[in-house]
Amino acid sequence: MSAQNPSASAAVRRRLGALALHPLTLALAAAVALLALGEAISPGFASPGQIVSQLTIAALLGMVAAGQTLVIIGGREGIDLSVGGVISLCAFVAGNLMAGTDAAIPLALAATLALGFAVGLLNGLGIVLLRIPPLVMTLGMTGVIQGALVILTRGVPSGRSAPALTALMNQPLVAGIPGVLLLWAAVALGVCLLLHNTAFGVRVYAIGANPEVARIAGMRPERIRALLFGLSGMFAGLTGFLVLGYTGSVFVGIGLQYVLPSIVAVVIGGTSLAGGIGGYLGTIGGAITLTVLQSLLITLDAGPAGRQVIFGLTLLVLLLLYGRQRGLRG
């Protein structure tokens, strides 16, 4: 550190305090507590192998949630319900492009990302040009994509993952860690850098926190917002690509299970649905916590019903902790 003033230790202490209260820390602490609980109830729950497989599931959720984080931070009720449709669509397209051959992977990846981005951008244009609320726009888009998929697939699972992609998802690459986790780390680094160390990131937070201030400071909130939806589509596309590797082949509704958890992961991670604050680190914590919670509920043998009830109640408790809105009285 450079030259210090007398209050340096106070500053360090404050830093540490902030770190302890960071959503990522909180969420990871919750995840560790859940793991410990699981281990106590069913030994082996927190074994390295189990942890890796849970992280793999969390990685998929975490990638969708990356895009979700961006649109939510961008404010104006930003939310992307179409990620599920995009995941399904992109998994389908990727599966049919690669049709089980490794050689087609680059092409399939490029096509997937481009397609995801295009769909997302379409959402964004509808939202900023036609001023359709994001919730409805992306919901309508989901209908269109699902409809298109049903027609394209005729309801039969189709496409096949290439062996290398499947290996990326399911086989250890280095030190027992599958490639997908390394990929997630890379994505995380990229998103965090984008949000915190680029001018674009500064603009994203600005338009989310106060679009009028951003506009007066010469930013273009509409353009940025549309772009954010494009990026969200792109991350959903990437997820679809990986989901294909994870499951081998694709059925129409495969992506829909990710929609609401991706939003919940963002919220648990401390990003406000009102926009302008939060970040991807918290979302990572949220995705991991959510995944561990779900698998703990499976281990508990609570049955599908009990799992859902506990899951929902947990969310409500989390909302109580940091999901409250401003009161009407000043």
């Binding site: 309508g140 649905l273 109640l313 009407l328």
Partner: protein, 319 residues
């Protein structure tokens, strides 16, 4: 000509349901062309039977949306009411009293779900989207606990009564008429005005002495009530319990509400538009079926029409 079009914007803004009515009539005409028997009473009644649950759920959703909130749990509420009703009827032996008790339990369940949502959103000030998603998960889980698998038929009188009628009028028509009458009465209360004021500009409504919190809670109660009504109708239609019955209703009710011209931002719109919106969604299915398009086209076309209607509504209102 320009004088005439200049009046459309304000007109549409006030009667937000006109666009949905127009779309419904257009689709009905297409339907009639494709299916000449469309206007026969039997066909109309069976269409109404199919559309009625969504109509009711959409009406329920409308109150909540008018207050600028949303209810994503409304589908799970439908499921929960359905299973509670059949389980109570079954447990009490299935006679007329049991049926009445079951239906009452169902309505109470719906109101209970609405109350939970209303308290969380309006009283505790949770964000409505995430909150009702979470309560929806809980309600769905509870439904699975009450009745883990589809089944448990209701007594014959229940579904026969629903399929039949009273004084020569079909039950579905009676239910619809009663629901619309109830809506008309609600629309004449101070509550309906408080609702639009709260949804239009919550701070102003609060400062004007409108009981905003209680108004929002009542909107969720109404959503729960209409969801319960829809569930009782569905129970009559399927004649049994199914914990997954309500699955798709949350999202399709929102589509219907939006198609009907009610603004998601709150304050503008009304139940009538949602009724037409639900009918439009239903008729799209019919048209696709009779146009011999594969059934798979339904979601795509519905999605496109919802988006087109939204875009159109925005463009018209902007003039």
């Amino acid at each position: 000509m320009s004088a005439a079009t200049s009046g459309i914007g304000p007109r549409l803004r006030r009667s937000t349901w006109l666009l949905a009515l127009g779309s419904a009539l257009l689709l009905a005409a297409i339907n009639l062309a494709l299916q000449p028997s469309f206007l026969e009473p039997g066909v109309m009644a069976s269409n109404l039977t199919t559309f009625l649950p969504l109509i009711l759920v959409a009406i329920g959703q409308t109150w909540v949306v008018l207050a600028s909130d949303i209810d994503l749990s409304i589908g799970s509420t439908v499921s929960l009411v359905n299973v509670v009703t059949v389980v109570v009827i079954d447990a009490l032996g299935g006679d007329a009293a049991a049926i009445a008790a079951g239906m009452a339990a169902g309505v109470a369940t719906g109101l209970g779900c609405g109350l939970v949502n209303g308290l969380c959103v309006a009283r505790l000030r949770f964000q409505p989207i995430v909150t009702t998603f979470a309560t929806g998960v809980v309600f769905a889980g509870l439904a699975l606990m009450v009745l883990p698998e589809a089944g448990l038929p209701v007594p014959e009188v229940y579904w026969r009564g629903y399929a039949g009628g009273l004084f020569g009028v079909r039950s579905v028509v009676l239910v619809l008429a009663a629901a619309l009458l109830l809506c008309l009465v609600i629309e004449r209360t101070r509550f309906a005005r408080a609702l639009r004021a709260s949804g239009g500009q919550m701070q102003a409504a609060y400062q004007s002495g409108v009981p905003v919190t209680w108004t929002r809670i009542r909107a969720y109660l109404l959503a729960g009530f209409f969801a319960a009504l829809a569930a009782l109708c569905l129970t009559g239609e399927t004649a049994s319990g199914d914990p997954l019955l309500g699955g798709a209703y949350a999202l399709s009710s929102i589509s219907a509400v939006v198609l009907g011209g009610t603004a998601l931002a709150g304050g503008v719109g009304g139940f009538l538009g949602s009724v037409f919106g639900a009918v439009v969604l239903g008729l799209i299915g019919n048209v696709i079926f009779f146009a011999r398009l594969p059934f798979e086209y339904q979601t795509l076309v519905q999605g496109l029409i919802v988006l087109a209607a939204l875009a159109g509504g925005v463009l018209v209102a902007r003039r």
